[in-house]
Amino acid sequence: MAHAATHDHHDDHHGAPKNFFVRWCMSTNHKDIGTLYLVFSLLMFFIGGSFAMVIRAELFKPGLQLVQPYFFNEMTTMHALVMIFGAVMPAFVGLGNWMIPLMIGAPDMALPRMNNLSFWILPFAFALLLSTLFLPGGGPAGGWTMYPPLSLQGDSVAYVVFAVHLMGISSIMGAINIIATILNMRAPGMDLLKMPVFVWSWLITAFLLIAVMPVLAGAVTMLLTDAYFGTSFFNAAGGGDPVLFQHIFWFFGHPEVYIMILPAFGLVSEIIPTFARKPIFGYKAMVYAIASIAFLSFIVWAHHMFAVGLPLGGEIFFMYATMLIAVPTGVKVFNWVSTMWGGSMTFETPMLFAVAFVILFTIGGFSGLMLALAPADFQYHDSYFVVAHFHYVLVTGAIFAIIGGTYYWLPKWTGHMYSEFWGKVHFWNSVIWVNVLFFPQHFLGLAGMPRRIPDYNVAFANFNMISSIGGFLFGAAQLIFLGVIVHAVWFSKKKAADRVWEGAKGLEWTVPSPAPYHTFELPPVIHDDELAHGHVED
C-alpha cells in the first residue's frame, strides 16, 4: 500500500478547474461533489436547527407565546423533513463520495456525471419545499409522515410531493452510483471482506435506499392522485383506506431509520480502532451485523402503528421481530467496547464523539426496546417519550457520528489541522446540552405530554423549560463547529501529515494531505497488514 503514495505525484498534474462555476456546478470529481454535499448538509443543518429553536422557544413555557399553532405545526414538519432529507442523508452521501473511492483505491465514483446530477437536484428540491412556507395557504403541517387525510388539507401537497420525488430520485441515483463504485471500482486485491467497515455500511445502506425510496415515491404519488386526480387510495369515503398509507409509508420509513444510522455505525467503526490503536474487534461479525439489521428493518415497520388497531397476531410478530434487532445491534456495541478494551486510547475530538455515540446511541436503543413492547407502546405512543427516543438515535447517534467523521477526515480534506482545543469545547458543550435537551423529554412523555403540540399543561412546565435551555445552548454550540471548520479550511497554519492520526490505517491515509484532486489513477498495491481491520481469516 505504500506504493499508493508514489503514484500521487503523477495524479496532481491536472488539478481543479480555475473557473468557479465550472469547478463547482459542472464538477464530476468525487471530492468536489462530496464537498458540495457536505456544505449543503451543513446549511440544511442550520436551517432545520433554526426551526427547532422556534419549536423550543414556543415550548419554553405553557401558553401560546411566539407563534400560531399552524405555524408551529409547519415548524415540526419542516424540521423533520429538512433534517432527515437535507442534513443527515446528504451528509452521509458527502462522506461516502469523498471517502469511498479513497478507501477502495478507485480513481473516482463509477458514474461521475450522474453524481453531479444527484447533488444538483437537491438544492432545487429544498428550494421547492422551503418555498411553501411563503405560500398564502402555508407549508405542510401534517407531520413528516404525511398521513392522509390530514396532509391533504393544505395547499402545498403538490409542492411537497414533487420535492420528495426529487429527493428520492437524487437518493436512488446516489445509491446506484455507490453500489456500482463498490462492486466494480475496487483496486485489485481489495476483496469485499477486506473493505473498511464504512464502505461495507454504505454498500448495505445503498441497497436499502434502492429497496425503499421507490416505495416512498409510490406512496406520495398516490397522495398526489388522491389530492388532485380524484382517486381514493387513502380516502375511506371513496372505498380507500388511510391505514394503507401508514403501512406503505412505514415500509419505507423504518428502513429509512437504518439508512440514517448504518453509515454512522461504519464511521464509528473507523474512528474507534484508530484512536484505540487496535484493529476492529470482530470485523466479520460487524459486517454481518450490519447486514442482519438491514434485513430485519424490512419486517418491523408496523411497530410504528401498534395503536392503529392491528390484529393481535400482527402486534406479537412485529413486537418480537423488533426486539430481535437488539441482537445484531448488541453485537456491534460489544465489538466497539472490545475494540477499546486494552487499547492505547487517546481522546482526540473524533474519538470523543465516537465514544459519546456508543454510550448515547445505546440509551436511544434501550428506549427503542421499550417502545417495541406493544402493550407499553399504547402508553408511550405519540408522546414526548418517542421524541426523546428518536432524537437520541438521530442526534447523539447519526449526527454525532457525522461530526466525529468530519473531525476525523477534515485534516485529510483541507491539509490543515483543526483546533483541537475548540473541537473539545464543541464536544463538551454538545454532549452536555444535548442531554439537557432530550433526557427530560423521556419524563415528559411518560407523564403524558403529547408530541406536536404548541401548548401544554402547566404540570409539564419545568421539564420543558430545562429542555428548551438545553436546546438553545446545544444550538449555539454548533456555531463553534462552524467556526472550527472555517478556521481549518482558511486560517489554520498547522499542516496535516499524510497519515493524520498515529493509529490510522487504510488506503486514504497513503495519499497526501490535502488529498490531491485526482488519486489512484493507477490502482494501488494492497498489503493486508496495512488494512484498517488487520488480517481477516478466510
Binding site: I172, A180, N184, A211, M213, P214, V215, M222
Partner: protein, 43 residues
C-alpha cells in the same frame, strides 16, 4: 503494471459499472411500480 493490464482493468470496470447500474436501476423502478400495483389490489 503494464498498459495492457491497466486497459483490461478499465474495460472490466466500464462493463461492470454499466451492468450494475442497469440492474439496480431496473430493480428500483420495478419496486416503484409494484408499490402502486399492490395498493391498487387492496380492497
Amino acid at each position: 503494471m503494464t498498459q495492457q493490464h491497466l486497459d483490461s482493468i478499465k474495460e472490466a470496470r466500464r462493463k461492470g459499472v454499466k451492468r450494475t447500474a442497469l440492474v439496480v436501476g431496473a430493480i428500483a423502478f420495478a419496486i416503484f411500480l409494484l408499490s402502486i400495483y399492490q395498493a391498487l389490489r387492496v380492497r
